[in-house]
């Protein structure tokens, strides 16, 4: 019997330890940001890469002193790229009274979050939360769907399309459009056609094709089709496996045309194309690591050097650095992390980014306006991408004025 009691007590103690472990909350001396992205399953690579960059940025900002004397801290939540899971995670964020919720991957998740944050803030005025969008690109999010509680610190599809079309060389006269058949791909196709008509009416669209999202394993038939069409350039918004496999198949088949992409700088594509992509793959970039040396910017160069010392993939999140710098100023100005006050402080804010350009957080639709770069994948650059020996070199740069596009946003602002 004695033995039984001993066992029972040990078990209870173990259980107690486990429970106590869960209850131990970190001290409240940091500004916490709930960060919702996919961290497990097939899409984990997207969340993984963003998290690495954000952790680096947070360390950089904290080293500068943080906001209100407090440091920033990321609290991660796994949404498995499913809107329903993201909404459960949002509940967790608001339960813990975190003032900010941030999400980068998947416009569908972003759109679901905007809706949920609107409803939450309306239904719980004492526990409001601000949504920071760091990578969900669908133009709708700051147009039809725009919200006072949502700030986008990344370019919309529209803004990317402007840079994409303006940077096409005059020699290109015919393009082949190939996009993924879903929300993002369709809006890329729409905006590409719109700006082609506006800026480059001389270019002929020889084909306008959609592929089913993430379903194609062998792109060889498409390459054959592109070849047969005689287009000078393949204009595509594909990303992930759909881009990597397409580039690989095209390279293997010896398709000698330009690849004017939207997202070839995203992780994985450089590995897929290798040296065969040299000189003919271009992409529209928020930034790349060779800009500092191109523009002789010592401070930015230092930043990149520090990144490269600890990471072996490309840093492409300068707007997110700007995001944190703006947040620091807004929180200091508001004197607290109150959602309304910080939001009002962020509106219309101007901030110099790492490369010295002035970025504007537009008040009308809460979209960050900043210049875009168009780069070519080439040799002889200071920092290469994914150990391929090749990296991105700027060919073209838009201005903030180029990127200031009309918005259809009719924002509902809180009365209080």
């Amino acid at each position: 019997m004695q033995r039984l009691r001993l066992l029972a007590i040990t078990c209870l103690m173990l259980l107690g330890l486990a429970v106590a472990g869960q209850r131990s909350l970190a001290a409240d001396d940091t500004i916490k940001i709930g960060y919702i992205d996919p961290f497990s399953g097939a899409f984990a690579s997207g969340g993984d890469a963003s998290l690495k960059m954000f952790q680096f940025i947070v360390d950089y900002i904290n080293a500068k002193g943080g906001a209100l004397g407090k440091k920033f801290e990321l609290v991660t939540f796994d949404d498995k790229l499913q809107p329903a899971e993201a909404l459960i995670a949002l509940k967790s964020v608001t339960d813990q009274n975190l003032p900010f919720v941030m999400s980068c991957v998947g416009s569908n998740v972003g759109s679901a979050l905007i809706d949920a944050v609107n409803k939450h803030n309306a239904r719980n005025p004492d526990n409001r939360v601000l949504q920071i969008n760091c990578g969900q690109l669908a133009t709708e999010l700051t147009n039809e769907q725009c919200s006072f509680w949502h700030f986008r610190f990344t370019g919309s599809v529209e803004m990317r399309a402007v840079a994409r079309i303006k940077s096409l060389p005059q020699s290109v006269k015919s393009v082949y459009l190939l996009n993924q058949d879903y929300l993002f791909g369709q809006s890329i196709e729409k905006d590409t056609k719109r700006f082609l008509a506006e800026y480059r009416p001389d270019i002929k669209i020889v084909a306008d094709e959609f592929i089913p999202l993430m379903q194609i394993k062998d792109f060889a038939p498409y390459v054959t089709k592109i070849k047969a069409s005689g287009a000078q350039s393949l204009l595509t918004g594909n990303y992930g496996p759909d881009l990597n496999l397409l580039l690989k198949a095209a390279v293997d088949a010896g398709l000698e045309i330009r690849f004017d992409t939207y997202l070839a700088h995203v992780i994985g594509a450089a590995t897929a194309m290798g040296s065969a992509g040299e000189g003919r793959v271009t992409s529209v970039l928020d930034d790349h690591e060779n800009i500092p040396s191109e523009e002789h910017n010592a401070e930015a160069e230092d930043f990149v050097k520090k990144w490269r010392a600890t990471h072996d993939f490309m840093f492409i999140a300068v707007p997110s650095v700007t995001q944190f710098e703006m947040m620091v100023r807004a929180i200091n100005q508001a004197g607290s992390t109150d959602a309304v006050k910080v939001a009002l402080a962020l509106e219309g804010m101007e901030q110099k980014d790492l490369f010295g350009a002035t970025n504007i957080m537009r008040k009308d639709d809460h979209q960050l306006l900043y210049p875009y770069y168009e780069g070519v994948f080439t040799k002889n650059v200071k920092y290469d991408a994914e150990k391929t020996g090749l990296g991105w070199k700027t060919e073209f740069k838009t201005t903030v004025a180029d990127e200031t596009l009309p918005t259809t946003c009719k924002m509902k602002r809180p009365s209080s």
């Binding site: 497990s40 062998d218 060889a220 038939p221 070849k227």
Partner: protein, 315 residues
């Protein structure tokens, strides 16, 4: 015409790749009745192993060693896992392989990280074999065709000419009878499962650098392989072969078809706009719904012929 010929070659390459994956699954499913969802995970392991090995010992040894490793893993799974679960029924076996999918997926991420691997075609095979209407046919594709043809020949010889092959063939159609005749069916099961995993691993080795090697590659291949196996019919390698080639062709040829159902209706004087759901379905072009075609084919064939194309018994 030129597109037709090139598409034919492309479809053949893809179909043979499918066959390499599906042949192992056909053997496993027909003999053991296991819906092995982990088959595609073993395929992924094959690619990762080949990448890792080719860094140390080069591509050619990797081509041999990686599939053998996968075969050994398959044997281990059968002996220490499936055999114990077998008497709990088919759904238990299915869930067992489900569990394996999760574990292998995460293990690969833990071992190699989340990014795609720079697993490349070996330099000795990285040249255009011939040029057709100005489009290169890479030597590596020819190599893939060669390997899969060799594999087909080997399986055929093994099944037709060896004693174990005869037992396997018999066990494909009448497993209980074979057991009643006193053959050691469990060890035949192990051999088949290991062999199937070996083939999946081989497919991974030669597809990993032709396609991309990343942690989501198993999810991408999983469903289509099942379609091939069921479409071809249980117990029939020939059916599996025909189904693989057919699915390969369907995938490649649907890409070049630009017309939609609405185009077919137009001569009849019916015009459709994409304003509602039905209109949308009718106006979408075949090339956009290409990947759906295998599933439609599967449903249609099972509705009218539940044993599949050349199946020897009811599924």
């Amino acid at each position: 015409m030129q597109i037709g010929l090139i598409s034919l070659l492309d479809g053949l390459v893809y179909g043979m790749l499918l066959f390499m994956l599906a042949s192992g699954l056909t053997l496993i499913l027909s003999m053991m009745g296991v819906l092995n969802f982990a088959h595609a995970s073993v395929y992924m392991l094959g690619a990762y192993f080949a990448y890792e090995l080719s860094r140390w010992v080069g591509f050619w040894p990797a081509l041999i060693i990686a599939p053998l490793l996968c075969g050994a893993i398959g044997a281990a799974i059968e002996v220490w896992g499936l055999r114990r679960v077998h008497h709990n029924g088919h759904i238990a076996e299915l869930l067992f392989t489900f569990g394996l999918v999760f574990i292998i997926g995460r293990a690969v991420q833990m071992a190699w990280g989340m990014l795609p691997m720079p697993y490349r075609v070996p330099a000795s095979l990285d040249f255009p074999l011939f040029s057709l209407y100005g489009e290169n046919f890479p030597a590596y594709r020819g190599f893939m065709l060669l390997i899969s043809a060799l594999m087909l020949l080997t399986i055929w010889l093994l099944l037709k000419k060896t004693r174990i092959g005869l037992i396997i063939q018999a066990a494909l159609t009448h497993p209980s009878m074979v057991s009643a005749l006193g053959h050691d069916v469990p060890s035949v099961f192990t051999i088949v499962f290991a062999g199937g995993s070996l083939l999946a691993g081989l497919a991974g080795v030669i597809a990993g650098n032709y396609l991309t090697t990343e942690s989501s590659m198993a999810d991408a291949m999983g469903p289509i392989v099942f379609v091939v196996v069921i479409f071809g019919g249980l117990g029939s390698l020939a059916g599996c072969f025909i189904a693989s080639i057919l699915m390969g062709m369907v995938q490649t040829f649907s890409v070049v078809m630009e017309w939609s159902f609405a185009d077919m209706l137009r001569p009849l004087g019916i015009s459709v706009s994409a304003d509602d759901l039905l209109g949308e379905i009718l106006t979408i072009s075949i090339s956009r719904i290409g990947p759906l075609v295998p599933y439609v084919l599967l449903i249609v064939i099972l509705l009218f012929r539940p044993r599949g194309l050349m199946g020897t018994r009811e599924t």
